[in-house]
């Protein structure tokens, strides 16, 4: 059996092992990996997500037991310090030697740190590993300003990360423009103003001469004599291959470093391969993951004697991600090809710049730049890579056709060989075949089975377009049906239930579904039934999500949270005391929420009814925090107390919260009312928000905080309270009737043809003539309101449900809590793997 040693356990190393194991099992090749970092391979491309999630688990390329399952020995925290090519051994930093038949060097690269006076000071960081990020995060806690050295792709990403760490962020670039390798001056200018509008300052033409400060950095000095007052510096000035092992092994290097490799990724020692950022092919280092994956596959094939293509270089097209400004650069972006003709379009008003370079014979697209709008990126890249014919008026490619005739290049014109996903090397043909042969009707399924779009994600829109186009060609319309048990969309089911008067899940499944249902359709139908009939949610308990079934949010460890309604955030001292008393009695953790109410956590299932009885006796109602329904209407203190207040925002918020409380919707709903334009209630970040004006209120809708924040849009301005409520009734009901399950209002609006203007036509101008019906439907829901907890505690049969054991009153003996800052917290997750 042959023994392969892989040095480095980064993304490319992992891909190599994956490819090797799909070609040959563990009976022919033994694989041992030495990795310097303490974690198994993780997704460096999405490293910046670590700033928000701080979870290594989410970044791992494979769960830690994968290596074991594949019979691969992974040694983390082990640095290889030299190679003996005669003996075919490697030496670890601990002094151990290990023998190989084949050696694969996947040592990646390290950040290039320019020689600047003082770069060794505390407060200067690089941006490459999880460890780097941990250090940046902890250092950022105590400072206010941070700068990034380098205005390339990665530097801009790092700057956004600093901004997200609440630092005042600057980017310093030596060149006269941003992303100098990908953008021309006009592109850079557009990008610069877009990034500056995010709050990141950009300094161009700056040659940094010194990092000031004693042992801790305290600012930067530039060659032109100017200075920058900042407390931290993240260096992102490019990469250098980690080719330290070349000397000991007598391996040749490329002109700019890296292990020199041939088209099979072999170094000058045929038993030693190099892949990824460590490899230099034709003196080129590829600092992107897709070429690295290509190399991994070719090397795996070559070692195992499989016929394979050869490595011929790779495309360096890229898209900027994560930072909220769209930038794409592809092919010959700067028009370096002799005779190439640039065509550009600039719109300073919307921050859009597009440029394409066409060949001197005007037949082919060579490359281009897109800033502010990259929706054409996928198609233009394909046209470039496949040398497809371009339209007679090439400007149509970036301007669209003006004058009727289509420009001919649609997704369906792409050749089957067009590579769509470069990370996973999936062609258009692969996608189409998968759709046809496996009858795929779900985009997620397509991504799972082909891997397309699972890497850097840049190709996702194109995968989606090919999917829709292919289904359409096969005569299928793409309908978002609920799940395998119902061949209907949520909106279709809404009509069916309403028109046929269906009252239970089973009735619906018998008449319109098949099989026994599942965890997708049950709660979706439960929500529909509730939205249509506002019937007691407890009646059909087993189709509800556990939160709805037990009228409380389940938390880690199986305890529940208790959230009484506090309309508008107004609460009397008596009620505060009542909450305190209950929380103390049942040993609950208490926290004030973002929605201006008080959450009590850690309630045992058996105690829920007792807790609620006491709360209800004190005058509280269910807060529906467990349901897909109205949460809170946040209010500022308004004209009663505030010297700026124009109207009484608290009273109005209470009125609105009481109006819509308990109504079930496709997803949760949040509202806000502010007493003046200062907007202390953050109403524009809510599903609906009202802001007082001199003349009345401005009504905003479809805002969203959370993962994808989106400002609410103005639906109607300067309207009186009664009109605002009329519009709200219509708006909410229209949303409830037409949204897909679990789509918040913002997502729903983004998908609505015609957007906010269309919504305004429907709600304000009543263009569909359904205004009155919507109001009537809403009125019926409002009239059917009941406090679910009040009903539950008065129903003996229902009460039985609130017991951990059905045959005993015992509490769950496995439930455990520990303590933190004088209150309790659940014991951590425990994970078990095979």
């Amino acid at each position: 059996m042959k023994r392969i040693i892989v040095v480095g356990n980064g993304m490319v190393s992992h891909k190599f092992c994956l490819k090797l194991r799909t070609i040959a099992g563990s009976d022919t090749y033994e694989v041992v990996i030495y990795g310097e970092e303490t974690w198994p391979a993780y997704d460096r491309v999405h490293l910046s997500e670590y700033f928000t999630e701080q979870s290594v688990d989410k970044l791992l390329m494979a769960p830690s037991d994968w290596y074991q399952d594949q019979n691969i020995t992974l040694k983390t925290g082990q640095l290889i310090i030299s190679i003996d090519p005669q003996q075919r051994t490697v030496l670890t930093h601990e002094g151990k030697t290990d023998h190989y038949d084949y050696l694969v060097l996947a040592t990646g690269s390290r950040p290039f740190v320019p020689k600047i006076d003082g770069v060794e000071k505390r407060g200067v960081f690089v941006y490459r590993t999880i460890e780097d990020l941990d250090q940046i995060i902890s250092y950022a806690k105590n400072i206010k300003r941070g700068a990034v050295l380098g205005g390339g792709l990665l530097g801009l990403e790092a700057a956004k990360a600093l901004l997200d760490l609440n630092l005042d962020a600057q980017v310093i670039e030596f060149a006269p423009r941003l992303m100098p390798r990908q953008l021309d001056e006009a592109g850079s200018n557009t990008l610069k103003s877009e990034i500056e509008s995010l709050g990141i300052e950009i300094l161009l033409n700056k040659n940094t001469s010194k990092v000031a400060g004693t042992d801790q950095m305290a600012g930067l000095e530039f060659a032109d004599g100017s200075q920058l007052d900042t407390e931290m510096l993240v260096i992102s000035c490019g990469i250098i291959s980690r080719d330290e092992l070349a000397e000991s092994a007598g391996l040749e290097k490329g002109a700019r470093g890296g292990f020199k490799v041939n088209e099979y990724l072999q170094t000058n020692d045929p038993n030693i391969y190099a892949v990824g950022e460590a490899a230099a092919f034709n003196d080129m280092i590829y600092g992107l993951v897709a070429p690295g994956y290509d190399m991994a596959e070719i090397a795996a094939n070559h070692i195992t004697d499989q016929a394979s293509k050869t490595f011929t270089g790779a495309d360096m097209s890229t898209k900027l991600k994560l930072i909220g400004v769209e930038v794409g650069s592809f092919g010959d972006a700067l028009g370096d090809t002799p005779g190439s003709i640039p065509i550009s379009f600039e719109d300073k008003n919307s921050g859009i710049y597009k440029r394409i370079n066409i060949s001197s014979d005007k037949k082919h697209l060579l490359g281009g730049i897109l800033v502010g709008d990259t929706s054409d990126y996928g198609m233009l890249l394909q046209i470039t890579q496949n040398s497809m014919a371009i339209p007679p008026n090439p400007e149509d490619l970036i301007l669209g056709t003006r004058g009727g005739q289509a420009n001919g290049n649609t997704i369906l014109d792409l050749p089957d060989t067009a590579q769509i996903c470069s990370c996973e090397n999936v062609s258009k043909g692969d996608l189409v075949d998968a759709i046809k042969s496996q009858n795929i009707t779900d985009l997620k399924e397509l991504r799972n089975c082909t891997g397309a779009g699972t890497g850097c994600g840049a190709c996702s829109p194109m995968v989606g377009d090919i999917f829709s186009a292919q289904l359409k060609e096969m005569g299928q319309t793409v309908r978002k049906t609920l799940c395998p048990h119902f061949d209907y969309t949520r909106q279709e089911l809404y009509s069916l239930i309403k028109v046929k008067g269906i009252k239970t899940y089973n009735e619906l499944l018998d008449q319109y579904g098949e099989g026994d249902g599942c965890e997708t359709c049950k709660p979706a139908v439960a929500s529909l039934l509730a939205s249509i009939w506002n019937d007691k949610i407890l009646k059909q308990e087993t189709i509800q999500d556990t939160n709805d079934r037990f009228l409380a949010n389940i938390q880690k460890g199986g305890s529940y949270s208790v959230v009484p309604r506090v309309p508008g955030g107004e609460i009397t001292p008596e009620k505060l005391i009542a909450i305190g008393t209950v929380a103390k009695k049942y040993d609950l953790y208490t926290k004030i929420t973002g929605g201006q109410r008080i959450d009590m956590f850690g309630a045992r299932l058996n105690d829920l009814p007792k807790i609620w009885r006491e709360l209800i006796d004190a005058g509280f109602e269910s807060g529906h925090a467990y349901g897909k329904s109205l949460r809170t209407v946040k209010s500022c203190v308004g004209s009663t107390w505030c010297r700026y207040g124009l109207h009484d925002s608290v009273s109005y918020a209470i009125e609105i919260e009481d109006r819509y409380k308990g109504i079930r919707s496709p997803h949760k709903l949040k509202g806000g009312v502010s007493g003046c334009r200062r907007e202390c209630a953050e109403a524009q970040a809510k599903d609906f928000g009202l802001i007082a004006t001199e003349l009345g209120y401005n009504l905003y809708v479809c805002g969203n905080g959370g993962a994808n924040p989106q400002h609410a849009k103005l639906l109607a301005g300067d309207i009186d309270e009664k009109t605002a409520i009329k519009y709200l009734d219509r708006f909410l009901m229209f949303y409830i009737q037409t949204a897909e399950p679990l789509n918040r209002t913002a997502v729903w609006l983004n998908k609505l043809d015609g957007g906010i203007d269309y919504l305004r036509e429907v709600v304000v101008e009543d263009s569909l003539g359904i205004g009155e019906d919507l109001e009537k439907d809403m009125q019926a829901l409002i009239a059917a309101y009941h406090c679910e907890w009040k009903e539950a505690i008065n129903d003996e049969k229902m009460m039985k449900r609130f017991s951990h054991f059905a045959n005993s009153d015992d509490y769950d003996p496995t439930q455990q809590f520990s303590s933190m800052r004088e209150m309790k917290k659940p014991a951590g997750w425990e994970s078990i793997s095979k």
Binding site: N506, D516, T542, D810
Partner: protein, 123 residues
């Protein structure tokens, strides 16, 4: 914390005693209850639509939560399954196998209804 190893799939042939739990009509339709069986927590499901009963460990192997009885049941093709309420990992009610991931399987136990009472079989 309860060891996952406490729970072992029991085949009808291995049953050494049948433990009476609750009257069948106390179980919700198409849903489950958690019962204390000696030191074990066993989830028993009344799959009314299929006219079948199933029993599994109550412990979800994903994050070791005592919770499966509170999950929704349904089918995947013809395979009856339960979905953990925490992260929607689904397990076959017949074989205990994890259907949408690679969690380890859950233990299953034989159930029978006699004289209106639900019995679960343990080894």
């Amino acid at each position: 914390m309860t060891e996952l190893t406490t729970y072992k799939t029991t085949t009808p042939a291995e049953v050494s005693k049948w433990i009476a739990t609750l009257p069948a009509d106390e179980f919700p339709e198409n849903g489950g209850l958690n019962v204390k069986v000696e030191d074990l927590q066993i989830a028993i499901f009344n799959f009314t639509r299929r006219n079948e009963w199933f029993a599994t460990q109550n412990l979800c192997p994903h994050k070791q939560q005592m919770i499966l009885s509170r999950g929704m049941i349904g089918s995947d093709g013809d395979e009856p399954k339960v979905a953990c309420p925490f992260h929607k990992k689904t397990f076959s009610l017949k074989t205990g196998e994890n259907l949408n991931g690679d969690e380890c399987p859950i233990a299953t136990y034989p159930v029978k209804v006699e004289g209106g009472t639900v019995y679960v079989g343990i080894a």
